[in-house]
């Protein structure tokens, strides 16, 4: 990986989807010192078309991705797209087909009125679920409750994650929800949306785009590109859409995706060999759930790591040093900027005030999506 860029993440942005894609893509190319003519293929990622309100969304924003006249494809694996499009970009290079590939992720959720929640309603099974008029927050509330209750985890310990990430985001120039003064008390006293989920447990809808550049070793050597991080493992896995038939207490599909990525990266003791993590954190409990899925904490033990400061920026396992989705924002697929982008910026020492104070050489990023069933994992090394 040789470049990254992202736009501001905000509840509403003026730019159109192609304009957002262009801004992020141009920034990623500039950071790699490349021109579009150096790019052999383009991959894009975005969540359901219904947010932007244009079907064939991949084609709608194509021109802004730099895909015109090139091999181009859009991938979509729900929220998992935030990391999965990088995996798809990696195939293009690792297969030997292309020297340099641009990956562009975009989401513009503000177009959908009055709230993107009305579109989320269309992801449910039309026979089993929709007659109950579900709200998407319900399933996260149900998963969070199962996780808390089975392991006896206190809500306050989960709220610590929101506090950590919103504070971490203070150093992120694109952040929508950074808050240097937020406390556990603020989270606990925020509006109850669908218990146990409260307003500050959740990341908001956002607009934004992000982009990265991937290239072959030979290309990097030939161009003498100095700022680079190496994709050393990729993994992805999905569980059944029959979500009422699964125990939500543990994300087995994330564990399988992680094992696939770790095997490729020759990691057999992830807790020793991984220096920092960017797990997907659209809700505070999800960071904990995913640290366990990534085999970086025992089941039910991730809250202890948070409480003891292990996952703080200066801890042994800095987690979401970007500020995550909770602090930077959640334009679904565009969260590649906090996940994959942050690995790159941390591993190349470009993270500014967010830079982890000790040396880090191996990081893992993970995204999650669909009906609580999809995990995508990338391991990167300095």
């Amino acid at each position: 990986m040789i470049g990254a860029g992202m736009t501001l993440f905000r509840r509403r942005l003026q730019e159109t989807p192609p304009e957002l894609c262009y801004e992020a893509a141009r920034m990623a190319l500039d950071s790699a010192g490349l021109e579009l003519s150096d790019i052999g293929a383009v991959v894009s990622g975005s969540a359901p078309d219904a947010f932007d309100g244009v079907h064939m969304k991949g084609e709608y924003y194509l021109d802004g991705c730099g895909g015109v006249g090139r091999p181009y494809m859009r991938v979509f694996t729900g929220g998992g797209t935030g990391v999965f499009s990088t995996i798809a970009g990696w195939w293009h290079v690792a297969s030997g087909l292309f020297d340099a590939v641009l990956v562009v992720n975009e989401e513009k959720m503000s177009c959908c009125q009055p709230h993107p929640q009305s579109v989320f309603a269309n992801i449910w099974d039309p026979i089993l679920d929709r007659p109950l008029q579900p709200n998407l927050v319900w399933i996260f509330a149900m998963e969070m409750n199962r996780y808390m209750t089975v392991h006896g985890i206190k809500k306050e310990d989960i709220a610590l994650v929101a506090v950590k990430n919103k504070r971490n985001a203070v150093g992120h120039p694109c952040a929508q929800l950074a808050d240097p003064n937020i406390t556990v008390d603020d989270v606990m006293r925020s509006e109850v949306m669908a218990w146990p989920v409260q307003r500050l447990d959740i990341s908001p809808p956002s607009d934004g785009a992000s982009a990265i550049v991937l290239a072959s070793e030979e290309f990097i050597r030939r161009r003498r590109i100095k700022d680079r991080a190496w994709v050393s493992g990729v993994g992805w896995c999905i569980d059944s859409t029959m979500w009422t038939d699964r125990d939500l207490v543990f994300p087995e599909y994330v564990a399988r995706a992680a094992k696939m990525a770790y095997k490729m990266a020759r990691i057999d003791r992830p807790r020793k060999q991984i220096d920092f993590a960017e797990p997907y954190d659209p809700f505070d409990y999800k960071e904990l759930h995913h640290l366990e899925g990534l085999l970086l904490a025992d089941r039910g033990e991730a809250p202890t790591l948070t409480r003891e400061g292990v996952t703080a920026r200066d801890g042994d396992l800095p987690t979401c040093p970007s500020g995550g989705l909770l602090g930077v924002g959640n334009p679904i697929a565009a969260t590649m900027g906090q996940k994959i982008g942050e690995l790159f910026w941390q591993l190349t020492g470009q993270a500014g005030t967010r830079q982890i104070p000790h040396e880090v050489r191996t990081g893992v990023a993970q995204a999650w999506g669909d009906l609580m069933q999809y995990g995508s994992v990338v391991v990167m090394r300095a």
Partner: protein, 173 residues
């Protein structure tokens, strides 16, 4: 980046910019309508709901009783074998107390909703539904519950033929 990049693109808009027409914009309201045929497994499932019963499918490949029923087993990847009635009692696997309706609008009277695993099906197999005749203080994971059916003349062949699940009473199930 962060260290080197000076300009972060994006122009933020407030809600008023859109709703009071302060920015140039265009609007569209789609009018898409759908009808889903329920298919083989779900048609029988819905017909049985209308009769006040839950039905599952068995798979002799993995020895599971699959609910909601399906005509193929996703694990064994073969056709399922037989129809099997299961009970209308079960256990709350998880739940939420929701102050949001489907459009994320706030409601004052919360909805109790969750997943019930049904007795007679394989472990953890169930469906999402509402809970009532219990308070938000009383509801808990592991609670034993029973379906409350609509009167036969009001049933339509829908998951809403069950009004909700209530606490199992002593001597029941």
């Amino acid at each position: 980046m962060t260290a080197r990049i000076k300009r972060w693109p994006g122009v933020e808009l407030g809600a008023a910019d859109l709703y009071e027409g302060k920015v140039t914009q265009t609007r569209f309201r789609p009018d898409a309508k759908y009808a889903w045929s329920a298919g083989e497994a779900m048609s029988r499932f819905l017909e049985e709901l209308q009769r006040g019963r839950f039905i599952a499918r068995t798979c002799t490949g993995c020895d599971r009783i699959l609910f909601p029923p399906r005509m193929f087993c996703e694990a064994c990847f073969r056709p399922t074998d037989e129809w099997r009635y299961i009970q209308d009692t079960g256990t709350i696997e998880t739940f939420s107390i929701s102050y949001l309706d489907r459009d994320a609008k706030r409601i004052t009277d919360p909805i109790l909703v969750g997943v019930v695993s049904l007795d007679g099906a394989s472990p953890k197999m169930g469906l999402m539904h509402y809970f009532a005749e219990m308070t938000k203080e009383e509801i808990r994971i592991g609670m034993r519950v029973k379906a409350v059916w609509r009167p036969p003349e009001e049933r339509r062949g829908s998951v809403l033929d069950v009004r909700y699940f209530r606490p199992l009473r002593e001597g029941e199930g």
